[in-house]
Symmetry: D2
Subunit: 148 residues, 4 copies
Protein backbone atom coordinates (compact mmCIF):
# COMPACT_ATOMS: atom_id res chain seq x y z
CA UNK A 1 0.00 0.00 0.00
CA UNK A 2 1.59 3.26 -1.14
CA UNK A 3 1.20 6.68 0.40
CA UNK A 4 -2.18 8.32 -0.31
CA UNK A 5 -1.97 10.96 -3.05
CA UNK A 6 -2.83 13.84 -0.68
CA UNK A 7 0.30 13.18 1.40
CA UNK A 8 3.72 14.26 0.10
CA UNK A 9 5.94 13.10 2.91
CA UNK A 10 4.38 10.89 5.58
CA UNK A 11 6.67 11.86 8.43
CA UNK A 12 6.37 15.62 7.74
CA UNK A 13 2.64 15.27 7.25
CA UNK A 14 2.28 13.47 10.57
CA UNK A 15 4.12 16.26 12.36
CA UNK A 16 2.04 19.01 10.75
CA UNK A 17 -1.08 18.48 12.90
CA UNK A 18 -1.53 20.53 16.04
CA UNK A 19 -5.22 19.89 16.81
CA UNK A 20 -6.08 16.56 18.46
CA UNK A 21 -9.42 15.28 19.75
CA UNK A 22 -9.53 12.18 22.04
CA UNK A 23 -11.93 9.28 21.37
CA UNK A 24 -12.48 5.76 22.76
CA UNK A 25 -13.65 3.00 20.41
CA UNK A 26 -17.16 1.95 21.48
CA UNK A 27 -18.29 -1.66 21.40
CA UNK A 28 -21.20 -0.76 19.13
CA UNK A 29 -18.61 0.55 16.64
CA UNK A 30 -17.03 -2.87 16.15
CA UNK A 31 -18.36 -5.45 13.68
CA UNK A 32 -18.40 -9.23 13.37
CA UNK A 33 -14.81 -9.23 12.05
CA UNK A 34 -13.81 -8.14 15.57
CA UNK A 35 -12.49 -4.69 14.65
CA UNK A 36 -13.86 -1.18 14.16
CA UNK A 37 -16.32 -1.16 11.27
CA UNK A 38 -14.99 0.83 8.30
CA UNK A 39 -17.99 3.20 8.28
CA UNK A 40 -17.07 4.49 11.76
CA UNK A 41 -13.95 6.23 10.40
CA UNK A 42 -16.18 8.96 9.02
CA UNK A 43 -17.99 9.39 12.34
CA UNK A 44 -14.57 10.00 13.90
CA UNK A 45 -13.64 12.43 11.12
CA UNK A 46 -16.90 14.35 11.63
CA UNK A 47 -16.43 14.47 15.39
CA UNK A 48 -12.86 15.70 14.99
CA UNK A 49 -13.86 18.22 12.33
CA UNK A 50 -16.71 19.76 14.31
CA UNK A 51 -14.62 20.09 17.44
CA UNK A 52 -11.82 21.58 15.36
CA UNK A 53 -14.24 24.17 13.92
CA UNK A 54 -15.39 24.96 17.45
CA UNK A 55 -11.83 25.21 18.68
CA UNK A 56 -10.70 27.72 16.03
CA UNK A 57 -13.87 29.81 16.50
CA UNK A 58 -15.57 29.04 13.20
CA UNK A 59 -18.69 27.52 14.81
CA UNK A 60 -19.24 30.84 16.60
CA UNK A 61 -19.12 32.58 13.22
CA UNK A 62 -21.76 30.18 11.87
CA UNK A 63 -24.00 30.63 14.88
CA UNK A 64 -23.66 34.43 14.85
CA UNK A 65 -24.98 34.40 11.29
CA UNK A 66 -28.30 33.22 12.75
CA UNK A 67 -28.01 29.83 11.11
CA UNK A 68 -28.05 31.32 7.60
CA UNK A 69 -25.05 29.25 6.54
CA UNK A 70 -24.35 25.57 6.97
CA UNK A 71 -21.15 23.62 6.32
CA UNK A 72 -21.76 20.75 3.92
CA UNK A 73 -19.54 17.84 2.98
CA UNK A 74 -18.47 17.98 -0.68
CA UNK A 75 -16.24 14.92 -0.60
CA UNK A 76 -14.49 12.65 1.86
CA UNK A 77 -11.91 9.92 1.65
CA UNK A 78 -10.19 7.59 4.06
CA UNK A 79 -7.19 5.27 3.85
CA UNK A 80 -7.22 2.41 6.34
CA UNK A 81 -3.61 1.89 7.42
CA UNK A 82 -3.93 -0.17 10.59
CA UNK A 83 -6.84 -2.05 12.17
CA UNK A 84 -8.61 -0.43 15.12
CA UNK A 85 -10.09 -2.45 17.99
CA UNK A 86 -12.61 -2.04 20.76
CA UNK A 87 -11.61 0.17 23.67
CA UNK A 88 -8.55 1.66 22.00
CA UNK A 89 -7.85 5.25 23.00
CA UNK A 90 -7.48 7.24 19.80
CA UNK A 91 -6.83 10.80 18.78
CA UNK A 92 -8.40 12.36 15.70
CA UNK A 93 -6.06 15.03 14.34
CA UNK A 94 -7.44 17.68 11.99
CA UNK A 95 -5.78 20.47 9.98
CA UNK A 96 -6.58 22.91 7.21
CA UNK A 97 -4.84 21.90 3.99
CA UNK A 98 -6.26 24.51 1.63
CA UNK A 99 -8.72 27.41 1.87
CA UNK A 100 -10.91 28.03 -1.17
CA UNK A 101 -13.37 30.82 -1.85
CA UNK A 102 -16.26 29.20 -0.01
CA UNK A 103 -14.72 25.85 0.81
CA UNK A 104 -11.94 24.35 2.86
CA UNK A 105 -9.90 21.21 2.41
CA UNK A 106 -9.24 19.38 5.66
CA UNK A 107 -6.80 16.58 6.37
CA UNK A 108 -7.46 13.93 9.00
CA UNK A 109 -5.24 11.51 10.89
CA UNK A 110 -6.29 8.98 13.51
CA UNK A 111 -3.55 7.64 15.77
CA UNK A 112 -3.64 5.00 18.51
CA UNK A 113 -2.09 5.01 22.00
CA UNK A 114 1.35 4.28 20.50
CA UNK A 115 1.00 7.22 18.10
CA UNK A 116 0.79 4.74 15.22
CA UNK A 117 -1.21 6.07 12.28
CA UNK A 118 -4.40 3.99 11.86
CA UNK A 119 -6.38 6.17 9.44
CA UNK A 120 -5.53 9.04 7.14
CA UNK A 121 -8.04 11.07 5.22
CA UNK A 122 -9.09 14.29 3.60
CA UNK A 123 -12.23 16.02 2.46
CA UNK A 124 -13.67 19.29 1.28
CA UNK A 125 -16.37 21.19 3.18
CA UNK A 126 -18.39 23.92 1.48
CA UNK A 127 -20.23 26.73 3.21
CA UNK A 128 -23.76 26.94 1.79
CA UNK A 129 -26.60 29.37 2.24
CA UNK A 130 -29.39 27.50 3.96
CA UNK A 131 -31.93 29.49 1.92
CA UNK A 132 -30.54 29.24 -1.60
CA UNK A 133 -28.40 26.11 -1.25
CA UNK A 134 -25.63 28.05 -3.05
CA UNK A 135 -22.02 28.41 -1.84
CA UNK A 136 -21.26 31.52 0.23
CA UNK A 137 -17.76 33.02 0.31
CA UNK A 138 -15.93 32.99 3.63
CA UNK A 139 -16.17 36.21 5.63
CA UNK A 140 -12.93 37.92 6.63
CA UNK A 141 -13.39 36.57 10.16
CA UNK A 142 -13.95 33.01 8.97
CA UNK A 143 -10.80 33.26 6.86
CA UNK A 144 -8.82 34.41 9.88
CA UNK A 145 -10.12 31.52 11.97
CA UNK A 146 -9.21 29.01 9.25
CA UNK A 147 -5.71 30.45 8.87
CA UNK A 148 -5.01 30.49 12.59
Amino acid sequence: MGIPSYIDNMSEWKDSFSYRYPLSVRFSETDAFGHMNNTVAFVYFETGRINFFKDIGLSKEWFSSGGKMIPVTADLQCDYIRQIFFDQQLHVCVKVAHIGNSSVDLHYMVVNEKEEVCLTGRGRMVQLSRETGKPVSWSENARIYLQS
Copy 2:
Protein backbone atom coordinates in the same frame (compact mmCIF):
# COMPACT_ATOMS: atom_id res chain seq x y z
CA MET B 1 -36.60 -15.81 30.94
CA GLY B 2 -40.29 -15.21 31.61
CA ILE B 3 -42.75 -13.46 29.34
CA PRO B 4 -42.37 -9.67 29.32
CA SER B 5 -45.00 -7.91 31.46
CA TYR B 6 -46.65 -6.20 28.47
CA ILE B 7 -47.58 -9.56 26.93
CA ASP B 8 -50.49 -11.56 28.36
CA ASN B 9 -50.42 -14.59 26.12
CA MET B 10 -47.43 -14.97 23.80
CA SER B 11 -49.16 -16.95 21.08
CA GLU B 12 -52.21 -14.63 20.95
CA TRP B 13 -49.92 -11.61 21.09
CA LYS B 14 -47.85 -12.92 18.20
CA ASP B 15 -50.97 -13.36 16.08
CA SER B 16 -52.30 -9.90 16.85
CA PHE B 17 -49.91 -8.03 14.51
CA SER B 18 -51.01 -7.24 11.00
CA TYR B 19 -48.40 -4.65 9.95
CA ARG B 20 -44.96 -6.01 8.92
CA TYR B 21 -41.93 -4.16 7.56
CA PRO B 22 -39.06 -6.13 5.97
CA LEU B 23 -35.41 -5.52 6.94
CA SER B 24 -32.03 -7.16 6.26
CA VAL B 25 -29.37 -7.15 8.97
CA ARG B 26 -26.45 -5.00 7.76
CA PHE B 27 -22.85 -5.92 8.45
CA SER B 28 -22.26 -2.56 10.15
CA GLU B 29 -25.04 -3.51 12.59
CA THR B 30 -23.13 -6.50 13.96
CA ASP B 31 -20.54 -6.24 16.73
CA ALA B 32 -17.41 -8.10 17.80
CA PHE B 33 -19.53 -10.81 19.49
CA GLY B 34 -20.59 -11.80 15.96
CA HIS B 35 -24.26 -10.89 16.30
CA MET B 36 -26.47 -7.84 15.89
CA ASN B 37 -25.48 -5.20 18.43
CA ASN B 38 -28.19 -4.64 21.06
CA THR B 39 -28.52 -0.94 20.26
CA VAL B 40 -29.71 -1.74 16.71
CA ALA B 41 -33.01 -3.16 18.02
CA PHE B 42 -34.21 0.40 18.54
CA VAL B 43 -33.21 1.44 15.03
CA TYR B 44 -35.41 -1.41 13.77
CA PHE B 45 -38.24 -0.34 16.08
CA GLU B 46 -38.01 3.25 14.81
CA THR B 47 -37.93 2.16 11.19
CA GLY B 48 -40.95 -0.09 11.72
CA ARG B 49 -42.81 2.58 13.68
CA ILE B 50 -42.30 5.35 11.12
CA ASN B 51 -43.35 3.13 8.24
CA PHE B 52 -46.37 2.00 10.27
CA PHE B 53 -47.36 5.64 10.86
CA LYS B 54 -46.98 6.28 7.14
CA ASP B 55 -49.00 3.18 6.29
CA ILE B 56 -51.98 4.10 8.49
CA GLY B 57 -51.97 7.71 7.24
CA LEU B 58 -50.75 9.41 10.41
CA SER B 59 -47.61 10.88 8.80
CA LYS B 60 -49.85 12.67 6.31
CA GLU B 61 -51.76 14.18 9.22
CA TRP B 62 -48.48 15.41 10.75
CA PHE B 63 -47.27 16.86 7.48
CA SER B 64 -50.62 18.56 6.75
CA SER B 65 -50.28 20.39 10.08
CA GLY B 66 -47.32 22.23 8.52
CA GLY B 67 -44.87 20.57 10.86
CA LYS B 68 -46.50 22.10 13.95
CA MET B 69 -46.53 18.76 15.75
CA ILE B 70 -43.79 16.18 16.17
CA PRO B 71 -43.99 12.67 17.58
CA VAL B 72 -41.53 12.18 20.43
CA THR B 73 -40.42 9.01 22.21
CA ALA B 74 -41.54 8.97 25.86
CA ASP B 75 -40.22 5.51 26.67
CA LEU B 76 -39.00 2.37 24.94
CA GLN B 77 -38.17 -1.15 26.00
CA CYS B 78 -36.91 -4.28 24.32
CA ASP B 79 -36.65 -7.93 25.33
CA TYR B 80 -33.96 -9.89 23.50
CA ILE B 81 -35.38 -13.39 22.96
CA ARG B 82 -33.14 -14.82 20.27
CA GLN B 83 -29.81 -13.71 18.80
CA ILE B 84 -29.87 -12.02 15.40
CA PHE B 85 -27.07 -12.43 12.87
CA PHE B 86 -25.70 -10.69 9.79
CA ASP B 87 -27.75 -10.99 6.62
CA GLN B 88 -30.87 -12.41 8.28
CA GLN B 89 -34.10 -11.33 6.65
CA LEU B 90 -36.31 -9.94 9.39
CA HIS B 91 -39.75 -8.43 9.73
CA VAL B 92 -40.52 -5.68 12.23
CA CYS B 93 -44.17 -5.97 13.26
CA VAL B 94 -45.89 -2.97 14.85
CA LYS B 95 -49.33 -2.49 16.40
CA VAL B 96 -51.22 0.02 18.52
CA ALA B 97 -51.72 -1.29 22.05
CA HIS B 98 -53.39 1.73 23.65
CA ILE B 99 -54.41 5.22 22.53
CA GLY B 100 -54.07 8.00 25.12
CA ASN B 101 -55.12 11.62 24.92
CA SER B 102 -51.99 12.81 23.13
CA SER B 103 -49.97 9.61 23.19
CA VAL B 104 -50.00 6.10 21.83
CA ASP B 105 -48.57 2.87 23.15
CA LEU B 106 -47.02 0.72 20.43
CA HIS B 107 -45.95 -2.90 20.59
CA TYR B 108 -43.09 -4.27 18.51
CA MET B 109 -42.09 -7.76 17.43
CA VAL B 110 -39.12 -8.73 15.27
CA VAL B 111 -39.24 -12.17 13.66
CA ASN B 112 -36.70 -14.02 11.54
CA GLU B 113 -37.16 -16.05 8.33
CA LYS B 114 -38.60 -18.96 10.32
CA GLU B 115 -41.10 -16.64 12.01
CA GLU B 116 -39.26 -17.17 15.28
CA VAL B 117 -39.61 -14.21 17.64
CA CYS B 118 -36.20 -12.55 18.13
CA LEU B 119 -37.20 -9.28 19.81
CA THR B 120 -40.31 -8.03 21.54
CA GLY B 121 -40.84 -4.48 22.72
CA ARG B 122 -43.12 -1.62 23.51
CA GLY B 123 -42.96 2.12 23.90
CA ARG B 124 -45.04 5.25 24.21
CA MET B 125 -44.93 8.09 21.66
CA VAL B 126 -46.28 11.53 22.52
CA GLN B 127 -47.41 14.15 20.05
CA LEU B 128 -45.82 17.48 20.99
CA SER B 129 -46.26 21.01 19.71
CA ARG B 130 -42.98 22.01 18.12
CA GLU B 131 -43.50 25.56 19.40
CA THR B 132 -44.43 25.01 23.02
CA GLY B 133 -42.97 21.55 23.58
CA LYS B 134 -46.29 20.62 25.25
CA PRO B 135 -48.40 17.55 24.41
CA VAL B 136 -51.18 18.10 21.83
CA SER B 137 -54.32 15.93 21.85
CA TRP B 138 -54.92 13.71 18.85
CA SER B 139 -57.24 15.16 16.20
CA GLU B 140 -60.32 13.15 15.24
CA ASN B 141 -58.53 12.11 12.06
CA ALA B 142 -55.42 10.99 13.88
CA ARG B 143 -57.56 8.93 16.25
CA ILE B 144 -59.28 7.26 13.30
CA TYR B 145 -55.93 6.42 11.71
CA LEU B 146 -54.64 4.93 14.97
CA GLN B 147 -57.78 2.82 15.45
CA SER B 148 -57.79 1.48 11.91
Copy 3:
Protein backbone atom coordinates in the same frame (compact mmCIF):
# COMPACT_ATOMS: atom_id res chain seq x y z
CA MET C 1 -45.23 11.65 32.88
CA GLY C 2 -45.00 9.66 36.12
CA ILE C 3 -41.89 8.14 37.65
CA PRO C 4 -40.70 4.96 35.88
CA SER C 5 -41.66 1.79 37.80
CA TYR C 6 -38.04 0.88 38.55
CA ILE C 7 -37.53 4.08 40.56
CA ASP C 8 -39.00 4.37 44.07
CA ASN C 9 -37.91 7.84 45.01
CA MET C 10 -36.41 10.00 42.28
CA SER C 11 -34.22 12.15 44.46
CA GLU C 12 -32.80 9.19 46.42
CA TRP C 13 -32.35 7.25 43.21
CA LYS C 14 -30.46 10.13 41.63
CA ASP C 15 -28.08 10.27 44.60
CA SER C 16 -27.44 6.54 44.60
CA PHE C 17 -25.08 6.51 41.58
CA SER C 18 -21.36 6.76 42.13
CA TYR C 19 -20.02 5.74 38.70
CA ARG C 20 -20.11 8.40 35.97
CA TYR C 21 -18.78 8.28 32.40
CA PRO C 22 -18.45 11.52 30.37
CA LEU C 23 -19.79 11.81 26.80
CA SER C 24 -20.30 14.57 24.23
CA VAL C 25 -23.29 14.44 21.89
CA ARG C 26 -21.99 13.95 18.34
CA PHE C 27 -23.56 15.66 15.35
CA SER C 28 -24.16 12.31 13.66
CA GLU C 29 -26.24 11.35 16.71
CA THR C 30 -28.82 14.08 16.09
CA ASP C 31 -31.77 13.67 13.72
CA ALA C 32 -33.93 15.90 11.54
CA PHE C 33 -35.99 16.98 14.59
CA GLY C 34 -32.84 18.77 15.75
CA HIS C 35 -32.22 16.70 18.87
CA MET C 36 -30.46 13.46 19.79
CA ASN C 37 -32.13 10.54 18.02
CA ASN C 38 -33.91 8.23 20.48
CA THR C 39 -31.90 5.17 19.39
CA VAL C 40 -28.66 6.79 20.61
CA ALA C 41 -29.75 6.46 24.25
CA PHE C 42 -28.87 2.78 24.09
CA VAL C 43 -25.45 3.49 22.61
CA TYR C 44 -24.81 5.72 25.63
CA PHE C 45 -26.11 3.02 27.99
CA GLU C 46 -23.82 0.43 26.40
CA THR C 47 -20.83 2.74 26.55
CA GLY C 48 -21.52 3.52 30.20
CA ARG C 49 -22.14 -0.13 31.03
CA ILE C 50 -18.95 -1.43 29.44
CA ASN C 51 -16.80 1.19 31.08
CA PHE C 52 -18.52 0.46 34.39
CA PHE C 53 -17.72 -3.26 34.00
CA LYS C 54 -14.13 -2.33 33.24
CA ASP C 55 -13.97 0.02 36.20
CA ILE C 56 -15.19 -2.54 38.76
CA GLY C 57 -12.87 -5.23 37.34
CA LEU C 58 -15.49 -7.48 35.76
CA SER C 59 -14.09 -7.16 32.23
CA LYS C 60 -10.80 -8.55 33.53
CA GLU C 61 -12.70 -11.54 34.90
CA TRP C 62 -14.28 -12.11 31.47
CA PHE C 63 -10.98 -11.79 29.66
CA SER C 64 -9.17 -14.08 32.11
CA SER C 65 -11.72 -16.78 31.30
CA GLY C 66 -10.21 -16.87 27.81
CA GLY C 67 -13.36 -15.47 26.24
CA LYS C 68 -15.45 -18.47 27.35
CA MET C 69 -18.20 -16.22 28.68
CA ILE C 70 -19.89 -13.23 27.12
CA PRO C 71 -22.29 -10.73 28.66
CA VAL C 72 -25.54 -10.56 26.70
CA THR C 73 -28.40 -8.08 26.91
CA ALA C 74 -31.61 -9.73 28.14
CA ASP C 75 -33.72 -6.59 28.21
CA LEU C 76 -33.33 -2.83 28.15
CA GLN C 77 -35.60 0.12 28.71
CA CYS C 78 -35.29 3.87 28.61
CA ASP C 79 -37.45 6.77 29.74
CA TYR C 80 -36.86 10.03 27.89
CA ILE C 81 -37.23 12.82 30.45
CA ARG C 82 -35.59 15.79 28.76
CA GLN C 83 -34.47 16.44 25.19
CA ILE C 84 -30.75 16.17 24.45
CA PHE C 85 -29.02 18.37 21.87
CA PHE C 86 -25.84 18.41 19.82
CA ASP C 87 -22.62 19.16 21.67
CA GLN C 88 -24.08 18.79 25.16
CA GLN C 89 -21.64 17.40 27.70
CA LEU C 90 -23.36 14.47 29.39
CA HIS C 91 -22.58 11.91 32.04
CA VAL C 92 -23.86 8.35 31.89
CA CYS C 93 -24.26 7.04 35.43
CA VAL C 94 -24.47 3.28 36.01
CA LYS C 95 -25.16 1.18 39.10
CA VAL C 96 -25.97 -2.39 40.06
CA ALA C 97 -29.60 -2.69 41.16
CA HIS C 98 -29.81 -6.45 41.68
CA ILE C 99 -27.47 -9.43 41.31
CA GLY C 100 -29.02 -12.68 40.11
CA ASN C 101 -27.50 -16.12 39.76
CA SER C 102 -26.01 -15.48 36.31
CA SER C 103 -27.45 -12.07 35.61
CA VAL C 104 -27.31 -8.52 36.85
CA ASP C 105 -29.83 -5.72 36.76
CA LEU C 106 -28.28 -2.34 35.99
CA HIS C 107 -29.79 1.10 36.32
CA TYR C 108 -28.79 3.99 34.06
CA MET C 109 -29.09 7.75 34.35
CA VAL C 110 -27.93 10.35 31.84
CA VAL C 111 -27.53 13.91 33.14
CA ASN C 112 -26.61 17.13 31.33
CA GLU C 113 -24.18 19.91 32.34
CA LYS C 114 -26.72 21.27 34.84
CA GLU C 115 -27.09 17.83 36.42
CA GLU C 116 -30.64 17.66 35.06
CA VAL C 117 -31.82 14.11 34.42
CA CYS C 118 -32.33 13.58 30.66
CA LEU C 119 -32.65 9.80 30.47
CA THR C 120 -33.31 7.06 32.99
CA GLY C 121 -33.17 3.37 32.24
CA ARG C 122 -32.57 -0.15 33.36
CA GLY C 123 -31.76 -3.52 31.86
CA ARG C 124 -30.68 -7.03 32.67
CA MET C 125 -27.41 -8.54 31.41
CA VAL C 126 -26.86 -12.30 31.45
CA GLN C 127 -23.51 -14.06 31.42
CA LEU C 128 -23.59 -16.78 28.77
CA SER C 129 -21.21 -19.54 27.81
CA ARG C 130 -19.98 -18.76 24.33
CA GLU C 131 -19.95 -22.49 23.55
CA THR C 132 -23.32 -23.64 24.82
CA GLY C 133 -25.20 -20.33 24.75
CA LYS C 134 -26.46 -21.23 28.26
CA PRO C 135 -26.31 -18.93 31.32
CA VAL C 136 -23.25 -19.36 33.56
CA SER C 137 -23.39 -18.51 37.28
CA TRP C 138 -21.21 -15.68 38.52
CA SER C 139 -17.87 -16.73 39.99
CA GLU C 140 -17.09 -15.61 43.54
CA ASN C 141 -14.76 -12.97 42.12
CA ALA C 142 -17.39 -11.64 39.72
CA ARG C 143 -19.85 -11.40 42.60
CA ILE C 144 -17.35 -9.40 44.63
CA TYR C 145 -16.75 -7.02 41.74
CA LEU C 146 -20.48 -6.48 41.26
CA GLN C 147 -21.06 -5.83 44.97
CA SER C 148 -18.20 -3.37 45.27
Copy 4:
Protein backbone atom coordinates in the same frame (compact mmCIF):
# COMPACT_ATOMS: atom_id res chain seq x y z
CA MET D 1 -17.91 20.98 -8.52
CA GLY D 2 -16.00 19.09 -11.21
CA ILE D 3 -16.28 15.42 -12.02
CA PRO D 4 -14.47 13.15 -9.52
CA SER D 5 -11.11 11.90 -10.81
CA TYR D 6 -12.24 8.26 -10.96
CA ILE D 7 -14.93 9.09 -13.52
CA ASP D 8 -13.97 9.74 -17.15
CA ASN D 9 -17.35 10.44 -18.65
CA MET D 10 -20.27 10.87 -16.26
CA SER D 11 -23.00 9.70 -18.61
CA GLU D 12 -21.09 6.60 -19.75
CA TRP D 13 -20.10 5.89 -16.16
CA LYS D 14 -23.69 6.13 -15.00
CA ASP D 15 -24.77 3.62 -17.66
CA SER D 16 -22.03 1.15 -16.80
CA PHE D 17 -23.64 -0.19 -13.60
CA SER D 18 -25.80 -3.27 -13.78
CA TYR D 19 -26.09 -4.20 -10.08
CA ARG D 20 -28.56 -2.17 -7.99
CA TYR D 21 -29.59 -2.62 -4.34
CA PRO D 22 -32.68 -0.80 -3.00
CA LEU D 23 -32.59 1.21 0.26
CA SER D 24 -34.90 3.60 2.13
CA VAL D 25 -33.42 6.48 4.10
CA ARG D 26 -34.12 5.89 7.81
CA PHE D 27 -35.02 8.69 10.18
CA SER D 28 -32.11 7.80 12.45
CA GLU D 29 -29.83 8.40 9.44
CA THR D 30 -30.75 12.08 9.19
CA ASP D 31 -29.08 14.80 11.25
CA ALA D 32 -30.01 18.19 12.66
CA PHE D 33 -29.42 19.84 9.25
CA GLY D 34 -32.51 17.92 8.10
CA HIS D 35 -30.75 15.67 5.58
CA MET D 36 -28.93 12.35 5.54
CA ASN D 37 -25.80 12.60 7.68
CA ASN D 38 -22.61 12.38 5.58
CA THR D 39 -21.31 9.34 7.48
CA VAL D 40 -24.28 7.24 6.32
CA ALA D 41 -23.02 7.23 2.72
CA PHE D 42 -20.45 4.62 3.73
CA VAL D 43 -23.08 2.45 5.42
CA TYR D 44 -24.93 2.46 2.09
CA PHE D 45 -21.72 1.65 0.20
CA GLU D 46 -20.99 -1.27 2.54
CA THR D 47 -24.53 -2.59 2.27
CA GLY D 48 -24.40 -2.37 -1.51
CA ARG D 49 -20.93 -3.91 -1.66
CA ILE D 50 -21.77 -6.91 0.53
CA ASN D 51 -24.95 -7.66 -1.36
CA PHE D 52 -23.02 -7.29 -4.63
CA PHE D 53 -20.41 -9.81 -3.40
CA LYS D 54 -23.25 -12.15 -2.45
CA ASP D 55 -24.95 -11.66 -5.79
CA ILE D 56 -21.87 -12.50 -7.87
CA GLY D 57 -21.05 -15.54 -5.68
CA LEU D 58 -17.95 -14.21 -3.97
CA SER D 59 -19.38 -14.49 -0.45
CA LYS D 60 -19.90 -18.20 -1.06
CA GLU D 61 -16.21 -18.46 -1.98
CA TRP D 62 -15.24 -16.73 1.28
CA PHE D 63 -17.50 -18.94 3.37
CA SER D 64 -16.33 -22.12 1.66
CA SER D 65 -12.78 -21.23 2.70
CA GLY D 66 -13.92 -21.82 6.28
CA GLY D 67 -13.54 -18.17 7.17
CA LYS D 68 -9.80 -18.20 6.48
CA MET D 69 -10.01 -15.05 4.39
CA ILE D 70 -11.74 -11.76 5.12
CA PRO D 71 -12.31 -8.79 2.83
CA VAL D 72 -10.91 -5.59 4.34
CA THR D 73 -11.37 -1.98 3.30
CA ALA D 74 -8.10 -0.42 2.07
CA ASP D 75 -9.56 2.93 1.12
CA LEU D 76 -12.90 4.58 0.45
CA GLN D 77 -14.05 7.89 -0.97
CA CYS D 78 -17.35 9.58 -1.60
CA ASP D 79 -18.44 12.65 -3.54
CA TYR D 80 -21.67 14.24 -2.34
CA ILE D 81 -23.49 15.47 -5.44
CA ARG D 82 -27.04 15.99 -4.25
CA GLN D 83 -28.60 16.13 -0.78
CA ILE D 84 -30.50 13.05 0.42
CA PHE D 85 -33.55 13.29 2.67
CA PHE D 86 -35.55 11.09 5.01
CA ASP D 87 -37.72 8.42 3.41
CA GLN D 88 -36.23 8.73 -0.07
CA GLN D 89 -36.13 5.47 -1.96
CA LEU D 90 -32.57 5.01 -3.21
CA HIS D 91 -30.57 2.50 -5.16
CA VAL D 92 -26.93 1.75 -4.43
CA CYS D 93 -25.22 0.67 -7.65
CA VAL D 94 -21.93 -1.23 -7.44
CA LYS D 95 -19.46 -2.38 -10.10
CA VAL D 96 -15.95 -3.76 -10.38
CA ALA D 97 -13.58 -1.14 -11.81
CA HIS D 98 -10.28 -3.00 -11.57
CA ILE D 99 -9.14 -6.42 -10.32
CA GLY D 100 -5.72 -6.57 -8.67
CA ASN D 101 -3.76 -9.54 -7.42
CA SER D 102 -5.48 -9.75 -4.05
CA SER D 103 -7.62 -6.63 -4.22
CA VAL D 104 -10.50 -5.16 -6.17
CA ASP D 105 -11.44 -1.60 -6.94
CA LEU D 106 -15.18 -0.98 -6.70
CA HIS D 107 -17.19 1.98 -7.91
CA TYR D 108 -20.38 3.13 -6.19
CA MET D 109 -23.30 5.27 -7.30
CA VAL D 110 -26.38 6.17 -5.25
CA VAL D 111 -29.40 7.42 -7.20
CA ASN D 112 -32.78 8.68 -6.01
CA GLU D 113 -36.30 7.91 -7.30
CA LYS D 114 -35.76 10.21 -10.30
CA GLU D 115 -32.50 8.42 -11.16
CA GLU D 116 -30.60 11.54 -10.20
CA VAL D 117 -27.07 10.82 -8.97
CA CYS D 118 -26.79 11.74 -5.26
CA LEU D 119 -23.50 10.09 -4.34
CA THR D 120 -20.58 8.70 -6.30
CA GLY D 121 -17.69 6.81 -4.79
CA ARG D 122 -14.95 4.26 -5.08
CA GLY D 123 -12.78 2.14 -2.86
CA ARG D 124 -10.38 -0.74 -2.77
CA MET D 125 -11.04 -3.97 -0.87
CA VAL D 126 -8.21 -6.38 -0.08
CA GLN D 127 -8.58 -10.07 0.70
CA LEU D 128 -6.58 -10.86 3.83
CA SER D 129 -5.71 -14.08 5.60
CA ARG D 130 -7.42 -13.98 8.98
CA GLU D 131 -4.43 -15.79 10.49
CA THR D 132 -1.49 -13.84 9.11
CA GLY D 133 -3.21 -10.55 8.29
CA LYS D 134 -1.40 -10.69 4.92
CA PRO D 135 -3.03 -10.25 1.49
CA VAL D 136 -4.09 -13.49 -0.26
CA SER D 137 -4.30 -13.67 -4.07
CA TRP D 138 -7.72 -14.26 -5.59
CA SER D 139 -8.50 -17.89 -6.44
CA GLU D 140 -9.44 -18.71 -10.03
CA ASN D 141 -13.08 -18.96 -8.93
CA ALA D 142 -13.03 -15.60 -7.15
CA ARG D 143 -11.53 -14.03 -10.27
CA ILE D 144 -14.31 -15.49 -12.41
CA TYR D 145 -16.96 -14.16 -10.02
CA LEU D 146 -15.41 -10.69 -10.08
CA GLN D 147 -15.20 -10.64 -13.88
CA SER D 148 -18.78 -11.80 -14.36
